[in-house]
Symmetry: D2
Subunit: 433 residues, 4 copies
């Protein structure tokens, strides 16, 4: 993809192939779903699967075809309003929390819409301007984000159904066992304080929120070599963690009390202990697997209970620099549930398994400039009240994240695949105070 | 059906035929829908079409098969919770406002559920006790109520979709023109004050809320010989009716202001005037057709503006006594939209077209006794804060209503097919005060 | 007062004396309060004491002085908006739920406002037209209603304060013991079915909602000769009454569940049993005193549990006809808490102690006509969704109620002094069904 | 105060004098209020004046007297619950949003409570441990914070009253004119990028949230030499600023739309233009005075509109280092309303007039450690979802703020005395990107 960026020497063939590959994966993700599954929106934060399929198509139609392909006529005029997510500059939008009231267009019609737009796109790739190609590149990464959202959303929807449907069968247990590392004692890797370059400065693709690369002084810190597991989190629960105000941020405690929170999102207690709802259905809680679907508030409270804290996003980026993201388990691997807190080989792998909450508010980097045009709304306007997460998860497409990649959610949200990586001030540092 | 009641001399064959006819009609009602359409619940008051199909089946399974057919095993244990509407005595229920989050069971699975229960029912009709046959009779009338609800709910769901889908094509305009009466001046038919018998005392089927027949003194009154039409209601709108506090009940005014109400539910203003959403899609407002989808508050405010009032349910019943309900247009006729405020022949027809708001709170009749068992929750527990409506509508199955039939909704609800019939105190009566 | 009505032969002197007496009583009611107590509004339904004092004054200023006394200039222009309760015809109003944000005018300023208006009123009594005198009569009865509201509201406000302040000391226990009747077995007094005249037809004062007198057929019934007491209601509580859905109206059950209701409003459980907050402070629950501060929903559920029902307002009026209201305990007696379910002499006393919920929705009587002018908003616009209560209470001024008097509240409200009187269908009547 | 800190060489006499001075100022602040004014809480964020007076007293009673003075008995046991603000470790608390329902204790009783606690405090100052003296020092700064809150809250309460009461008369206009500087063109002062020490490292008093002093790299920036004035903000309003989505953060736009925001909190349009409510009552908007009572969202949108941005808290601190806070206008000066965007002498004065929104989320500094004990809840638990403000305002007591002082509010809050100082990236810096 790197060569595409800036369209300095665009390999049209590669771009076109990548477009087809990513577009195809989206449709693969609904292969196991019924038409009825593609309509449901069980809370305002999630979107129906067919909405994701249509919205990502709308993105190419509205941002690439309409402005850049002369004579292109919208597939269906009404889709413009239905499938605009949040672009104020692109006209009125169907209310987000009402996406689940739309039975039409049907799934079949949405697939026809996709086929139509894809055909026109592939037809015109060679004639597109560098600016259009840049938008396509963003559109491909955008579609990857919606692939992860689609999986998160189906899981959430299914979890609300007392029949507890299964999205996809679990991988065979042989494979699972092989992938599973030993649970090892959590170690904290030390990093010295220094002035670092943070953010994305390379020629390869990045989102605007990763830029510009800038200097940031980071004090010495240590960071856990693995994620917190269910067994550890269960100890927090059993120690009354949810009922001990001293562990919580004030807003977090209010959230816990208002909603009666007493366990991660998909835990459910039955007579014999906790069970967990997964993309493979309901099953006993695996104490050695990473705890997942916790809010930022829960992550911070757990860290406090454990005598640690969450890392800042800058600490995380310093620690992750140069690590290999490829070797992690990604969406295409089909696991769809975290299995291991760390690689079996004992190495430090900051990527994959689960997004890791940082204790950094989502703010613009010094010198931040949004993209131009409608796409300027992509990231900048969300830079308040959210927290940064880092690292990617089992539902993230391979190649999508990097060490500078910034994901963000409100600290109460927990339907993403989120987990906990702990950090501490360096002992040396502490001594100084 | 009369002979079935009380199972004194049950004609099993007729009951079974009626069961099959009504069950079949429910499935016919979704013939024009896509699977996606059957999932949606656009507000808490409506239910997804497949929920109606399943709930009415659950009714027979739970109230007839399980208690009365030895060895009957539930088709799917989980359905018990999913498809119980409001029967506290029958265990936990899936939350009403979350019916739209259920993609499973799919429509196809629900149809299999229906087929299964129908087969068992038909198999065992002859062996059932009189008590079971009475429950079946209630179940059939119950299913008819859900047929009307299904049509109301699909219409509401579709109206929220900017694509404005059509439920069914309109009948041919020839037929429509023939059915249409002249718009005639509204006349008020006089009835003298007297002691009347109100309520249902005959052997034929009735719901418990229509019983017992009792004496009620009704002062002299007059009642309009036709429904209020769109043209008349438009005059109210254009006269600032929604903004004139003196016309409104206090609760109604609060409702108007909170929700910014300024027209009937399905009216929409565009550049050239009002349009109306119908089961046949969006079309220009027909000024001569009855105004429909108004709340009780709007009906009462209109009546005040017109120098009239709404009738009491007792006045309506007195006026409707002995009138022929058969000749009206019903669900089976396929109109699904009111076309005429009164019959073309100039006669007084209280039945059909639209449910008519009365100014009577839904209360128990003197000596009211609910049915026994779980079915006791059918009516009695709803007897607060609702208003009685009378007469049936174009979405009501033929044979379902009668002059004693009491429908009921909260006064702010307007997704049912509701209209306005005016009444007045008798002039003689007025003079006396 | 009778002669004043209709101003046919107004005894100005008597009217003026009555005006002074009632106006004086209002001020007496705050004698035991601090200025701070007069500001507080602990929920939207209550009003601050000084608001009541000002609003009742505004009533005379706005409805009598401004239209009927030439040259009268408003005491303070801003009061017009602040102290208009709900009269849409009289201009904008300060929002009801924000009455507690008004520290100004201070109590002292409000008392000056009262003194000013009273002085002008007394000065001009003789020169007023019959129409103005009629409005004064309404204003006096209106002020009496606010006297009761003021006591209810202070009690509610104080109950929210953990310091549990006392409004007034309890009467000496000697007096209390004397007033207390024996607790006697509840008997049901029989009344035959017949056509009755209901409503107010006499020349004496009545509110428009009591008129016109009209015929109403009432089936035979029996009515309890005393109120339900705390001991009886406690048995309901201990029998799980609040958790048994079959006893409740559907809306009532939703209210119980949403608010976690499990006892009457002012009951509070401590280690040794229930305590009750009263106008005299917190004290152990008196099992022989009438249960009070229950909602209509609780009253109806209790009645169901007891195998009875609530009376209709018509039954109550039939039973109360000709009974002596004077002999009951009223506001001026200073008790401010019900002490006895029935008179010590064993007689039937429908009046006093507590307002009694009826199972009658608050609806217009046949032929109802509101008063003319702004005062038309007094009653009619509230005739939806509320229930009628009858009989008056210990906080109602003497002479204020009569057998035709209709009080009304929403069925969930329970800060008024409300109690429960049971009724049943007549056995004969029951046999017939 | 510096010597007191850590009680290394406590000058008891100075501490005691400071205690008396600050305690006295709190009572002075209500000198112009009526008892009724001291009860009101017009929204959940504000507290009644007498609550502030009692809570600050509770602080000394609970954190100093009870643990550190043997035999001290609480003045009134019930106050413990009533006047605990948010200390979970110190037991149950009266709900914050219900502070306005408490008429008792009366203002007079609260003043007696203050006098009692002050007397015991002064009596025991000499015998207190260094730990207790440290808590007193915090308590004094805590009381200063509540002095500002009291002024903010009275202003908010009065603004809700249509009578628009005046808190205090305005200073004479001679003085005002003298204090007013010329409105000058906004200039941007340049600061070079560098590694700075941020936070409080000196021995003098600081809150825990200002510590520890740590290194932070700040890129080159420029910062405005004066605040934005009403005239400039009016131009934003008139340019449709509130209706242009591209200027707003997404959460900010949602807030604007939900609440219909179209001007700063205390602006009100009448026939001739805007008026502004101040501590001195209602008056025409002064176009040359600083715009005040804007939310963080409004500040950020204005900055965007002006082609600038808000400074980070680190930039602000770098710019303010070494500036003289004493020369600004503070609470004791009695102005209570900002008069000038910058000093008349043309100097750069970052302190005073209005708190300045920064675009920095309120987060812990690297190595942050909360105070020990109950006081640990003072700051740390609020470090989510809020923004940092810097500089102090006309309602802040003199000596209270410093260049490292961090105030914090949610970005939608605007009842504090908030204003806008703009910043930009350095041109050099920009060129580099």
């Amino acid at each position: 993809m790197g060569k595409l960026h800036g369209a300095r020497s665009p390999s049209i063939a590669r771009a076109s192939a990548e477009f087809q590959r990513v577009r195809g994966l989206s449709v693969d993700l609904i292969a196991s779903l019924e038409p009825e599954d593609c309509v449901v929106q069980a809370m305002p934060d999630v979107s129906p699967p067919k909405w994701h399929l249509a919205h990502t198509t709308w993105f190419f139609e509205t941002l690439v075809l309409e402005p850049h392909v002369e004579g292109y006529a919208a597939f269906c005029h009404g889709y413009h309003e239905l499938f605009n997510s949040y672009y104020e500059a692109l006209g009125p939008r169907h209310a987000r929390h009402h996406r689940g009231v739309l039975s039409r267009p049907t799934l079949e019609e949405v697939l026809r819409y996709r086929a139509h737009v894809d055909a026109v796109m592939l037809d015109t790739f060679e004639r597109l301007s560098p600016a259009a190609l840049t938008l396509i590149e963003i559109g491909i990464h955008h579609e990857q984000q919606h692939q992860e959202l689609l999986v998160m959303d189906v899981k959430y929807n299914f979890a609300q159904n007392p029949l507890r449907p299964t999205y996809r069968p679990a991988p065979s247990s042989n494979t699972a066992d092989a992938a599973r590392g030993e649970t090892r004692k959590m170690r904290f890797l030390p990093f010295g304080g220094d002035l670092f370059h943070i953010g994305h400065g390379a020629r390869a693709f990045s989102f605007d929120n990763e830029r510009p690369s800038h200097r940031r002084f980071v004090e010495a810190f240590t960071i856990a070599d693995r994620l917190v597991d269910n067994g550890e989190f269960l100890a927090f629960v059993e120690d009354g963690g949810y009922r001990r105000p001293e562990l919580w941020l004030s807003d977090g405690l209010a959230w816990v009390r208002e909603h009666g929170i007493d366990a991660p999102l998909y835990w459910r207690r039955d007579g014999r202990g906790y069970r967990e709802f997964t993309a493979h259905g309901d099953r006993p809680l695996d104490l050695q697997a990473p705890v997942c679907h916790v809010s930022g508030y829960e992550a911070a409270a757990y860290a406090e209970w454990a005598g640690c804290r969450l890392p800042t996003e800058f600490e995380w980026e310093v620690a992750a620099a140069g690590k290999d993201a490829q070797s992690a388990i990604w969406l295409e691997d089909g696991w769809l549930h975290p299995t291991s807190t760390a690689p079996a080989d004992g190495s430090f792998q900051p990527f994959g398994q689960l997004w890791q909450w940082t204790r950094s508010a989502y703010e613009p980097y010094p010198g931040f400039r949004p993209e131009h045009g409608a796409i300027s709304e992509y990231n900048g306007k969300f830079m308040s009240n959210q927290w940064v997460l880092r690292g990617g998860c089992v539902a993230t497409p391979r190649d999508h994240v990097r060490s500078t990649y910034r994901n963000f959610f409100y600290p109460h949200q927990r339907w993403p695949f989120t987990g906990i990586r702990l950090a501490k001030d360096s002992a040396a540092n502490e001594g100084a105070r």
